[in-house]
């Protein structure tokens, strides 16, 4: 192939510009994923952990018995703990369950501190992870104010009892967390936890679309986010 220098430079320039333009367009017009947790609906099934089971099964999250080495992507905690500063002792919602997961913060401190960009913010708002790049320094775990991240203190594979061949397993020495099911929403399916909830207490949707059911719910119902005063701008909302 004969390519003059000038043509080569022009082509690189065009490629670079289209790349940048596409990123910009995606950021402006693309989806912004978010989730809402309806605590009252969730509370109607006090012993249900189906969302947790579905998530952990789909993502090969190991069931490690030692609580110190536990790994979870989503967990059930009472409002009294999740919103400790907001809910006084007389509050009626203290006992309500709040599903806690990564908030896919708009301004994520975990991404800010990662020294190798192994955790990063995608254009669609998802805070994703590259498990092949993570060096296991756990700086992100110190930075996340929500305790959303888990570390593989040992090889997780012996604790994955029913592996899902479609999803990678992790190695010892890397951090992991909820990915908002990036692999599923890419193919148009909702996240595993949302799909598994019998009460439809978890609502997943696109914040960038004013017509989306999530936006309608957020516009009509009072909701809170965890520790909004920290400026992380969580993308997981809780209806009381």
């Amino acid at each position: 192939m004969n390519l003059t220098r000038q043509a080569f430079l022009r082509l690189t320039g065009i490629a670079f510009l289209t790349g940048a333009a596409r990123k910009l367009v995606a950021a402006v017009t693309g989806p912004r994923w978010a989730m809402a947790v309806d605590a009252a609906k969730c509370a109607t099934q006090p012993n249900c952990t189906r969302c947790i089971a579905a998530c952990h099964q789909a993502h090969n999250v190991p069931a490690i018995p030692d609580p110190r080495h536990e790994i979870h992507w989503i967990a059930k905690e009472p409002f009294a703990r999740t919103f400790a500063a907001e809910e006084d002792q007389y509050s009626p919602v203290r006992a309500l369950p709040a599903m806690v997961l990564c908030n896919h913060c708009e301004n994520p401190p975990c991404v800010r501190v990662c020294p190798v960009q192994a955790t990063f913010k995608r254009e669609d708002g998802i805070v994703a992870m590259d498990w092949h790049r993570c060096i296991g320094c756990r700086y992100c775990m110190a930075a996340c104010p929500y305790g959303a991240r888990s570390f593989n203190w040992e090889d997780p594979r012996p604790y994955i009892h029913n592996p899902n061949p479609e999803f990678p397993t992790r190695t010892k020495g890397v951090v992991e967390k909820c990915t908002f099911c990036a692999e599923r929403i890419g193919t148009g399916r909702p996240p595993a936890c949302v799909e598994a909830c019998p009460q439809k207490a978890l609502v997943f949707g696109n914040l960038a679309d004013p017509q989306s059911p999530l936006r309608a719910l957020l516009a009509s119902r009072r909701h809170v986010r965890r520790k909004p005063e920290l400026g992380t701008q969580p993308n997981v909302f809780y209806f009381l």
Binding site: A84, C114, P115, Q117, C137, P145, W153, T171, K172, K227
Partner: protein, 391 residues
């Protein structure tokens, strides 16, 4: 090469010491191989307390490294002749401390084989990137300065002119390494124990106390081993530095306590309460922290009274107390307590496992080995010039 041959000749005692260090290093290495194989699960760390002994040792040792500036600055900027004989020791102490820092970071990594990712994907918005840059630079600066000045001393010629600006750069650089290390912690939302603008000054004050305290002990030891009065000279001046720095350090801690407990904001008091009184019956750190407090107050009592401080043996005791007090404060308390309680209010206690402690000891022994060899070189060079002077 680097005058290493000078470290190869020594008394029985010298070799025995080297041998002991090698044994401790070997034990640490064996434990590290187990950690490498099994994962960081062999430590006492957990999902809630994700950093422990390793990172705390790292933090403490950055301080020791930075403290070289406390002899370099008076000597080069104020011509304090008493420090002539210890500046090189201070710089070598920095070299050994920075080496330990890097090793502690390394042994803390979950995927050490990927360490080069930090260079492959340089990330300026991560403070860890800047910490690496500042520590690496500081190591090179001190190694170059110490070796060049020592070589000049051996050849009995003045050091080359270009070294002066390098030395001047090393002074603010020393401040930078501990400032950046404080920034690792105090820029994190949600870890209230660290989220305080005074963390960097606090780090510096405690560093300028613990480092020179160690240097005092080193000088007194060398004075004893070599029976040379040369090393006693700077000890009293260093004592004054330790006195000031320790007073400021304690003052800063009191400021933190006031802010937290007078404002009574729960997030700001919880970790401190965990350290000094325990939370919900969890009191693992309490005896340590009160030991640290008692040592700090005892040391201040000895240091602040000139009559006591001027006595070399009492000064040595005070220096030991300063060193251990600050080691507990920074090398245990400050890092671990920031993780208690967890973001969800859980209290998970941490204590290092045996393997973790042995690995840490191994790293310390490696640092001491470097320091021993480098001190030995300094002594050998000086002994020769002394002998020639007598001749």
């Amino acid at each position: 090469m680097f005058m290493l041959e000078k470290a190869m000749a020594g008394s029985r005692r010298y070799w025995l010491w080297i041998f002991c260090l090698l044994a401790v290093i070997g034990t640490g290495l064996v434990c590290y191989l187990r950690q490498l194989d099994h994962g960081l699960g062999i430590t006492g760390l957990s999902r809630d307390v994700t950093w422990g002994l390793y990172i705390a040792q790292f933090t403490f040792l950055v301080g020791v490294a930075a403290s070289a500036v406390m002899v370099v600055l008076p000597y080069y900027l104020h011509n304090a002749k008493a420090f002539a004989k210890v500046t090189i020791l201070g710089e070598f102490l920095a070299v050994s401390a920075v080496t330990m820092c890097m090793l502690f970071i390394f042994v803390d990594m979950g995927q050490p084989a990927r360490v080069l990712n930090v260079l492959l994907y340089p990330t300026p918005h991560s403070i860890m990137f800047w910490d690496m840059v500042s520590l690496g630079g500081y190591l090179v600066l001190n190694a170059v300065i110490a070796l060049v000045t020592l070589r000049a001393e051996r050849e009995e010629v003045p050091p080359p002119g270009w070294i002066k600006p390098v030395i001047l750069i090393s002074i603010p650089w020393a401040v930078s390494i501990h400032t950046v290390t404080a920034f690792l912690y105090n820029g994190l939302p949600g870890r209230s124990l660290w989220l305080t603008a005074i963390l960097a000054p606090r780090f510096l004050a405690s560093a300028f106390a613990s480092g020179p305290a160690l240097l005092i002990l080193l000088c007194l030891l060398l004075a004893k081993v070599t029976r040379s009065p040369l090393f006693r000279e700077p000890v009293q001046k260093l004592g004054v530095i330790v006195t000031y720095a320790m007073s400021i350090s304690v003052f800063f801690v009191l400021l933190e306590l006031f802010t937290a407990f007078y404002s009574q904001i729960p997030e700001h008091t919880e970790s401190l309460r965990y350290m000094f009184a325990g939370l919900d019956g969890h009191t693992r750190l309490v005896p340590w922290m009160w030991t640290s407090n008692a040592l700090a107050l005892g040391a201040l009592a000895l240091l602040l009274v000139p009559r006591y401080r001027h006595n070399d043996s009492l000064l040595a005791i005070a220096s030991g107390m300063v060193f251990f007090s600050l080691w507990i404060d920074k090398g245990i308390g400050l890092i671990v307590a920031a993780f208690v309680p967890s973001p969800l209010g859980a209290i998970t206690e941490y204590s290092p496992s045996l393997a973790e402690a042995l690995i840490s000891l191994g790293v310390w022994a490696f640092g001491l080995l470097i320091l021993t060899v480098l001190s030995k070189i300094v002594l050998a060079v000086r002994a020769r010039s002394l002998m020639e002077a007598v001749k």
